[in-house]
Amino acid sequence: MKIKTEKATIVFNVIGYTIITILTLLCLLPFLLIVSGSVTPEKEIIAEGFKFIPNQFSLDAYTAAFSNTGQIVSAYRVTIFLTLGGTALGLFLTSMAGYVLSRNDFKYRNSLAFFIYFTTLFSGGLIPWYILIVNQLNMKDSYMALLLPPLLSAWNIILMKNFMKSIPDAITESAKIDGAADFTIYWKLILPLSTPGLATIGLFMALGYWNDWFLANLFVTTESKYPLQFLLYKILASAAVLNTNVAGNLSPDFRPPAETLKMAVAVIATGPIILLYPFVQRFFVKGLTIGAVKG
């Protein structure tokens, strides 16, 4: 049977779709400008500014960017490895901690939770943190410096704990009666039931690892260990510095990378994750709805 749509609903839908379309276009246009900017000849940009449809088509910027292919490829490798490894390991540790804290029969769970929470109130500051990692832990110029700091966050653990609290105790108990040990319960029952929570936190973590350049900036000195975002930022920063007064003190032979090169590098760096995003996002949204329905 067809439900009759009211006029107001139609009007609402028309307005809604129009606004959403405009917003979508607004979000999309900058990306389009980056892509078209990356294939515009350098001179045209200087003379006439960025345009959506360039008069001439040129792949010079990409040729220049890929003249150092090795570095981009290795940066990709580092970033992908970090994102996958860091997220998997981080999820495992976060969920284990969350699970333990959510179990009612763990006597000191509140104290431990407070202990973890407590660390979010204070921060040693940048310099002590740097000293700890470089002088005490000796992780300068090591992948560990990129992997470990974002691995566990107190906030994620608490989020996970609260999520797992919503799983009924009865499930744990019944499994216990069937003879399952704690780890089996966690692995076989709690984890599958926590997919929505894992998806949320996992996405946060993955984005964090993918977008991180600060750690590499501080700790990594070998070029082959640069992650992608840092490499990209480095190119932009070099250009920015060379356009300021500091450049007056430097050798005039240095030439900042061209506008088009910046655009090309941006496309190279963001392209894959944009293509990947819809797939991950579908899973992510599904996960969220499961959680919502189950309550």
């Binding site: 005490q136 003190n249 005039p252």
Partner: protein, 527 residues
């Protein structure tokens, strides 16, 4: 009951953590201080025996400010081969890159990381770090471990590197003049029969002529540098200790007459004139938010004037000759307003040793080698002969790409941030990228050079931090549009600007700068 116990427990844990935190802090900040004297004393004892002991193999960690080159690995491998043979040492050369480099540089020095040598410079806060004791005093080490350098560097240069009686850096021996100036299209000036540029009126006439006849915006892009440096040079206002905002000495001959320039009649006259310039369309009304370099506009024929310092102008002009030979450029250095120029301080580029260095002696030995042995100097500065360069027929300068190279299209030139250990006598590249007009300019500068008395004044603004921040905000909000003539009513804008500056506490900042500057002048025995 249980609840209570738990509460106590969590408090206990909390207190424990605070205690751990505090003790951890204390330890890490004390450690480096205690360590450094012991290392130096034991090692200088070694030196006093007379013969330099290199029996222990050492790996040094060096830091340069800037980016590494694509072939850095290859060059370092070559260099380390030589170093290992000569000094039983290898160097691990690290680069800060330009990403957030101030933070990184701060951390490197503040954390007490083991670094044997680092680039230091006035523009990376050499005097601030030196005052905080971040660098190792080199006075006792230099004669023993870097004898050549100790002999070669002029006394004046050592003096400029001296803070609180200690030499804390080895300055580059590369006298540089980087006065501001304007690059302009000389071919248009000739074509339009405009007067030769030699003062403010001729600049105005040129801008006006170009604007009318060619119908282009003369400064087509960011124009603040052009106008502000012109303002300073025209009125001979000298900023103190780097960028001191609106505070300046009123002229070179009156270093003690320190003023806030927005309160002078000269400033009033200037911004009125700039208002007419802006109205005539010498720059765009969006110039303050523009991200376009005026120099890029010249390349495509839509601009005529660009601010550059002298060596930068050389690079720009040479580049233009190569890529757009139809455009002819001229250069007008602002030094011609008052006919003198101040050289950069020697510590504008230098190498220093952080106080926690593991092997300061060996580091100095390597630096000595680097500065005085052409084999080392050429390798690290210019790369590998035959691959990155070849020696020109005159035997002094280099040719890039190398003469025998077939595949010149894919040639990537070699160059690194070698500013910290440059020597004029060792250089194989002409200053200002070999611009033909630069030699004459350099002669002019050398003949009218006066000592730089403003840059070494150390200002950290610590006592007037909030006032300084407020003043800077006022400059951004009111000062910039006024300077660019982008206000409807100049008189009213000046009044507002002055009022806002006073409210922000400009007089406190002025008093602070005066106090510090006078202290420096007294110390140097200046009137």
């Amino acid at each position: 009951m249980r609840q209570d116990k738990m509460k106590y427990f969590s408090w206990f844990v909390a207190i424990l953590m605070v205690a751990a935190l505090l003790s951890g802090c204390a330890k890490s900040s004390n450690e480096p201080l205690e360590e450094s004297p012991t290392t130096t004393s034991s090692d200088s004892a070694e030196g006093s025996e007379g013969k330099l002991d290199t029996s222990k193999k050492v790996e040094l960690v060096w830091y340069l400010l800037g980016d590494a080159n694509k072939d850095q690995k290859e060059v370092m491998a070559e260099l380390n081969k030589m170093l290992e043979k000569d000094l039983n040492t290898t160097v691990k050369l690290n680069f800060t890159t330009w990403t957030d480099w101030q933070t990184k540089y701060n951390l490197l020095l503040a954390s007490g990381e083991k670094i044997d040598m680092i680039f230091a410079s006035t523009w990376s806060d050499y005097y601030k770090f030196a005052n905080q004791g971040a660098f190792l005093p080199l006075g006792d080490l230099l004669p023993t471990y870097a004898p050549e350098t100790w002999k070669n560097v002029p006394k004046q240069d050592w003096d400029e590197a001296t803070v609180k009686g200690n030499i804390l850096a080895v300055p580059a021996t590369y006298p540089e003049y980087t006065p501001d100036g304007l690059v302009y299209r000389e071919d248009w000036r000739n074509e339009l029969g405009l007067p030769e540029i030699k003062d403010l009126d001729s600049i105005e006439a040129y801008l006006d002529g170009v604007k009318k006849a060619k119908n282009v915006t003369p400064i087509n892009g960011k124009a603040y540098n052009e106008v502000f440096t012109l303002f300073k040079a025209y009125n001979d206002y000298q900023q103190i200790g780097g960028d001191s905002g609106v505070i300046a000495a009123s002229s070179y001959d009156n270093p003690r007459d320190i003023i806030a320039y927005p309160f002078t009649p000269e400033f009033e006259a200037w911004v009125k004139r700039m208002k007419t310039w802006a109205d005539k369309g010498f720059w765009n009304s969006d110039t303050l938010s523009s991200q376009v370099e005026a120099g890029d506009a010249i390349k495509v024929g839509t601009g005529a004037v660009y601010w550059r310092n002298a060596p930068g102008a050389g690079g720009y002009i040479v580049d233009m000759e190569k890529n757009n030979p139809e455009i002819k450029l001229g250069y007008f250095p602002f030094t011609r307003f008052h006919n003198y120029v101040m050289p950069n301080l020697s510590v504008n580029n230098a190498m220093a040793i952080p106080k926690n260095a593991a092997n300061p002696e060996r580091s100095l030995m390597v630096l000595d080698k680097l500065r005085n042995d052409p084999k080392y100097y050429d390798l690290l500065s210019y790369g590998i002969e035959g691959k990155h360069y070849s020696i020109a027929e005159d035997g002094k300068y280099i040719v890039t790409p190398p003469a025998n190279l077939k595949d010149t299209k894919n040639f990537v030139p070699y160059g690194i941030a070698s500013w910290g250990f440059r020597l004029e006598s060792m250089e194989r590249v002409k200053q200002a990228s070999g611009w033909s007009g630069f030699d004459a300019l350099l002669q002019e500068f050398k003949s009218e050079s006066k000592p730089n008395i403003f840059a070494p004044v150390l200002l950290d603004y610590a006592p007037v931090k909030s006032q300084q921040a407020a003043v800077n905000a006022v400059i951004q909000q009111y000062g910039l549009p006024l300077m660019m003539g982008l206000v409807p009513d100049v008189d009213k804008a000046i009044e507002t600007y002055r009022k806002q500056l006073e409210a922000a506490g400009v007089n406190d900042v002025l008093a602070y700068v005066k106090e510090q500057a006078y202290a420096y002048y007294d110390e140097k025995g200046m009137k």
